[in-house]
Amino acid sequence: MIPASFEYHRARTIDEALELLAKYGEDAKILAGGQSLLPMMKLRLASPGHLVDISEVAQLKELREADGLIRIGAAATETALLHSALLRGKCPLIGEAAAQIGDPQIRNRGTLGGNLAHGDPGNDHPSVMIALGASVIARGPAGERRLPMDGFYRGLYDTQLEPLELLTEIQVPTPPARSGAAYLKLKRKIGDFATAASAVQLSLGEGDTCARIGIALTNVAPMPLRLSGAEALLAGKRITAELIEQAAQIATGACDAADDFHGPSEYRAQMAGEMTRRALAGALERARRD
């Protein structure tokens, strides 16, 4: 578990990080919490020549709300998300997911931006952010771009980010009143990736009909899966047990999971359905109480 040798650079500002990225190009990797990158380097699955550490860039750790958007710096740690009163009050789904990531030591280091940018289908925040309708801000030599999370992933470990771009911020539309959310994750133990997980964010309108809903799955395909079909099924309707059942079946049908030690693909697809069933019921219950 010894990585190949590399140069370490600590960036103080976003601009400095971008300069370093530009200077070393493909041979550089951004180091935020290091919870995925460092194990890969220790296993020598990755051997970047330069690490650009952004974990101390103050601007990347901000967490605030403005103009109906919750704006989270990419280097905010899971622990910061977990302890944020703003998120707890206005967007509890993020903290609920963060609490199910790793263990306290991992959460003290791991960051939201890293979790999103790494492109590992086992990571939890991508489906959460898709369910929330979030976007990310990427900054590079050509300036800033806003990328919706839905469509951000192109494949396994592959995102819309360009090599010289840095993910700087996550923007989440503040959920309106009468919203409810749930992140249901089936895993063997603390610290494990999901066998299957489902993120649901919904808002109720007039007559308890579903005004907005986002549903996405974790770790049951090479990329996080947005369940547009299930969203369309539920949007505008009063959500009943029958509809939840249908949505769960859509979830199962959408999966493209590999066989692994969590179980064969069929099991993981069934569990995606089960987690969706439970997440929908939970989110609905919370929205009614909100």
Binding site: M1, I2, A4, S5, R44, D103, L186, R188, K189, I190, G191, D192, T195, E245, F261, H262, G263, P264, Y267, Q270, M271, E274
Partner: protein, 803 residues
């Protein structure tokens, strides 16, 4: 206060002797990070070694090119089998009578096998250099299934054994066959089966698992060329035997070999054997004349050093219609991997598997174990159990449940009908053991009452009617621990005794040294308590040392729950020798005859005259200045203890599990563990041992498995994949006890730390299977991961949603 309770107060409160829940003396250093483990050993000019390992399960080595690695600045050596050949160290003997390649000699037989060792200035250079060693392989067909290994045309795994029809344990019947071990009267058992009213048969695999101690294996070897002396610090549960082996292999006089086991971060059987890494590090140090450190990485530990189990078992019971068992037959295909490096006493190739009649009075029994080579890592150690006792206990505890289901009898009732009765002890089993003591019905009854067993069964019936899955698992196990005796048990010809050497200082403080070696068992705490009670000085002033072969008396080490049965007995007897000398000194001081004195727990008193007494503290001082004429000064004793028999701890465990029908997740709602280890030395330490063993049993039953794919690649050899539960997953434990002392042990104590593992695994397994028993399910393979349980649920149609 009467005399008895005064003595109890003195022993427990003042001396903190046997029965006192004193805090662990080791813990202040461990919990402050002040332990001294192998990786804390740093010697001047020390170099670092890194193993180059086979990426293939089975392959011929066509060439090894070390030039690039040697060219890297900071690299001092790259050793291969060719470098070890002149020393005849490229192969080494195993504890099981086989040989094992130290560095691969022309072919590799398992993934991760040791091929070369790089020695460099630091770990980083060593890691880079290991990547530069070029090995050209020609892949060979791989066998990971022991059943397939015995097919006539199966590839030959061990070409070095070509033509050898005899192994260390008799005839070999196939090129991948190691031994056949038979015990019991086959014909008698067959006769009973032929006539029995009821028979049951079940095939079960006890999966390959790994002891996975938190600290991996490692060593620091330091050869002093000037003095010709070799010092080896290593993670060994048995340092004295290692020194003997090193002396024999190296030709260095045993007096010039110093083996030191410092603090050890868990062993669980993984640190009994001698591994290639140790041997090559020693050679490297001798060749280079500098200290060499080699420490396994986690992946190396999980994939190359000593696994456990991998027993493929078929159990059969014959019984009458009342469920009274008449005979047992067991057959095992034992997958030992590529080399038979099983750690058992020499004459016991399947360890103490013949304890498989368990707690039951079974008149006829026959067991046969066939050891098999496969392209998997070598090992087969006892993971938190006495040699193969977990496997044995598992097969009988499962079969008793299978029989109960067949006869539609309650699983507790079948046990009660078949227990060896208290008045039958000492009990000779049909497979040859003499059980020392036990009271099985009392233990089980106590558990059944404590948990309201009939209430639980009623609740289960109601839940089954609603389609819910609730299981109740019982395990009423008996262990056999504490090897020797020497006439039947040895390691490489060295009898399995153990030892204690104690010296009382003038002020009445003491140091005692043992041939055992704690890896977390708290010997520094509990041995001192035995000595405190025996000698009458407080345990706080008794220093316990182990692990340094220069200072400690020779012993066979700590594994198979043998420390208390052997080392603990040696402590008690050494203490009694001290007391006998002390009596003579006291008589001299009090000017009476020794026969006129009586022992009062911490002093000798003139019979009936309480103010005429000498405390042990006073006697200790006198031992250095005021002795009877002709007596040698000092107050010391040595005891080498050869146990007359093993000890047979037992217990009754009950587990209640609820299984989520839609995810397959098992939730252990209740676990009640009653243990009987005879005399209890430190109740708190025992409880800690029980908790730890149950947690490991939970891990094995619910998730641990070393899985090889058909190419011989080990799947998931890291803690990301290999299941080590945290406090969050681990159930809550309720503990209880009865006390049935061992009649042959000086203080009546038996081993305890492995009972929870032995008994726990079958309790979990029986509980999970019991949840499906009403549907005709008689067995499910471990580990009970949610997906496996869900698969069963799904196959049975139990996950359908109504409406």
């Amino acid at each position: 206060m009467d005399a008895a309770s005064a003595a109890e107060t003195l022993n427990k409160d003042h001396l903190m002797g046997i029965g006192n829940a004193r805090k662990r003396k080791e813990d202040p250093r461990f919990i402050q990070g002040k332990g001294r483990y192998i990786d804390d050993i740093k010697l001047p000019d020390m170099l670092f070694a890194k193993m180059v390992r086979s990426p293939h399960g089975h392959a011929r080595i066509k060439s090894i090119n070390t030039q690039k690695a040697l060219g890297l600045p900071g690299v001092h050596a790259v050793l291969t089998a060719n470098d070890l050949k002149p020393l005849k160290l490229h192969w080494m003997p195993t504890l099981a009578g086989d040989v094992q390649a130290v560095l691969a000699d022309e072919k590799v037989c398992f993934m991760g096998q040791e091929v070369a060792m790089v020695v460099a200035d630091d770990r980083y250079i060593a890691a880079d250099a290991a990547d530069l060693v070029e090995v050209e392989y020609e892949e060979l067909p791989v066998i990971v299934d022991p059943h397939k290994a015995l097919l006539p045309d199966a590839p030959v795994i061990r070409e070095d054994l070509a033509g050898k029809s005899e192994g260390a344990h008799g005839k070999r019947t196939h090129h991948n066959h190691i031994f056949t071990w038979e015990v019991g009267d086959r014909e008698a058992a067959d006769r009973v089966f032929g006539q029995a009213a009821v028979t049951v048969k079940e095939t079960m695999t006890y999966q390959r698992v790994h002891p996975s101690p938190l600290e991996t294996c490692g060593c620091v070897a330091s050869f002093d060329k000037v003095k010709g002396e070799l010092t080896v610090y290593l993670t060994s549960q048995a340092p004295h035997v290692v020194r003997t082996v090193v002396a024999m292999l190296s030709g260095i006089p045993e007096s010039s070999v110093h083996v030191i086991s410092p603090d050890i971060g868990g062993g669980f059987g993984n640190k009994v054997g001698v591994y290639p890494g140790y041997v090559v590090a020693i050679v490297a140090s001798i060749v280079l004349g500098r200290p060499v450190k080699w420490v396994e990485e986690r992946i190396e530990n999980l994939s190359t050093t000593a696994f456990a189990r991998d027993y493929h078992m078929t159990g059969e019971l014959a019984a009458d219609r009342n469920g009274r068992i008449k005979a047992l037959r067991v057959h095992v295909l034992a997958d030992h991997g590529a080399f038979d490096a099983c750690a058992d006493p020499s004459k016991w190739p399947a360890g103490f598997f013949s304890i498989c009649t368990g707690s039951y009075d079974i008149p006829a029994a026959y067991a046969r174990v066939d050891g098999i080579y496969t392209n998997k890592a070598p090992g087969g150690v006892a993971y938190r159990c006495s040699f193969r006792v977990t496997e044995a206990s598992y097969v009988i505890e499962r079969m008793v449940d299978v029989l109960a289901q067949k006869l539609d009898l309650d699983k507790a009732e079948v046990r009660l009908r078949n227990f060896i009765r208290p008045e039958q002890f000492p009990y000779r089993s049909s497979l040859g053991w003499e059980y020392d003591s036990g009271n099985y019905p009392a233990a089980l009854q106590k558990v059944l009452t404590a948990v309201d067993y009939s209430g639980l069964r009623r609740e289960q019936a109601e839940k089954r009617a609603r389609g819910e899955l609730m299981g109740i698992g019982l395990s009423t196990f008996t262990e056999v621990v504490g090897a020797g005796p020497r006439k039947t048990c040895d390691i490489l010809g060295i009898a399995m005794f153990d030892s204690c050497e104690i010296r009382i200082h003038p002020t009445g403080a003491a140091i005692a040294r043992f041939g055992t070696k704690s890896q977390g068992q708290a010997h520094e705490t509990t041995y001192a308590q035995i000595l405190a009670t025996e000698i009458g000085i407080p345990s706080d002033v008794i220093q316990i040392e182990e692990g340094d072969t220069d200072t400690a008396p020779y012993g066979l080490g700590t594994y198979g729950s043998r420390s208390t049965p052997t080392g603990g007995a040696a402590a008690a007897l050494a203490g009694r020798k001290i007391r006998e000398k002390a009596r003579k000194i006291a008589a001299h001081l009090l000017e009476v005859s020794a026969e006129d004195l009586e022992w009062q727990g911490d002093r000798f008193q003139v019979k009936g005259v309480p103010d005429q007494a000498k405390t042990m503290k006073e006697i200790a001082w006198a031992a250095y200045n005021n002795l009877p004429e002709g007596m040698e000064p000092g107050l010391e004793a040595v005891e080498y203890y050869d146990p007359p028999n093993l000890t047979f701890p037992f217990g009754a465990y009950l587990c209640v599990v609820d299984i989520d029908r839609h995810t397959g997740e098992p939730k252990v709602r209740r676990f009640y563990a009653l243990d009987d280890c005879g005399t209890r030395i430190n109740p708190m330490v025992i409880e800690g041992q029980i908790h730890g063993g149950l947690a490991e049993a939970f891990a094995v039953a619910m998730g641990q498995e070393l899985v090889y794919d058909d190419s011989g690649t080990l799947q998931g050899a890291s803690f990301m994949d290999y299941f080590v539960p945290t406090a969050v997953e681990t159930p809550y434990w309720e503990t209880d006890y009865t006390v049935t002392p061992s009649p042959h042990h000086p203080i009546g104590a038996k081993g305890v730390a492995e009972s929870p593992h032995v008994g726990g695994v079958s309790a979990f397994s029986n509980a999970v299977i019991d949840a499906f028993a009403h549907l005709g399910v008689t067995h499910l393979s471990m580990p009970y991961t949610p997906w496996r349980l869900w698969q069963k649920i799904h196959d049975l149609g139990l996950d359908k949603r109504s409406g």
